[in-house]
Symmetry: C2
């Protein structure tokens, strides 16, 4: 279990670092947040900006076709982003290293309505690629 968590955490960090590099390569500035997910205060995983736009993002890596988000997780992200004058996004790396990005406002509620879900089929249809996301005006 400890090893599983360590590996999962390492994969999450690697995925975040991959995005940090992509933002800088595209002339944005970007940082990873220390202890996001483990501090007592809500915090996104990444903060990025190019001056006129600011993006706060939860980054997930999943080995399946679906990723669930709790309502609190999305609420926290949106609260933080709003206080920062920023857009709130989720970035998900599905199996096969397929990255998709979506503003939290476009996430689907689950049928029970208790949480949000991003599934790969849906994300292929309405999600954004990295370049698309940063090209928005």
């Amino acid at each position: 279990m400890a090893r599983f968590i360590r590996n999962k955490k390492a994969k999450g960090t690697a995925a975040e670092n991959e995005l940090v590099h992509k933002f800088w390569e595209n002339n944005w500035v970007c940082v990873r947040v220390a202890g996001s997910g483990s501090t007592q205060f809500p915090a996104p995983d990444l903060l990025a900006s190019r001056g006129d736009r600011r993006i706060m993002m939860e980054v997930k890596i999943v080995n399946s076709h679906k990723k669930y988000f709790s309502e609190q997780e999305i609420k926290d992200l949106e609260y933080f982003s709003e206080r920062f004058g920023a857009e709130s996004w989720v970035g998900i790396c599905f199996e096969g290293r397929q990255w998709f990005f979506l503003p939290t406002a476009e996430l689907q509620k689950t049928s029970a309505g208790q949480s949000f879900v991003a599934d790969l089929v849906e994300m292929k249809r309405k999600g954004f690629g990295f370049e698309e996301m940063i090209a928005l005006i």
Copy 2:
């Protein structure tokens, strides 16, 4: 040496966490940056916002009356802040737990002109306390 560095790092993290708490207590949002000072990309130690203001900060804890900053360190902070639409500040905790804050634009150059210096006497005169800093408009 390893122990010295670990202790110094732990003290730095504790000082940063103290400020994170202060910002949240005052209805700002704030995060610590992961790996600031050790990543290949320039990054401040703290990012904070209350919507209309954003502050990016280098946080230092010193056991003396002076703290030096290299020109590059300040340039990097100012570049990052400008790309984020934020103010750039330094926050220094001098011996005796005296905190002072200053916008980087108000830092003094050293007499040799190669770096910047914040000294306790000067900071007592023109530095800001935490509450003063966050009350600025």
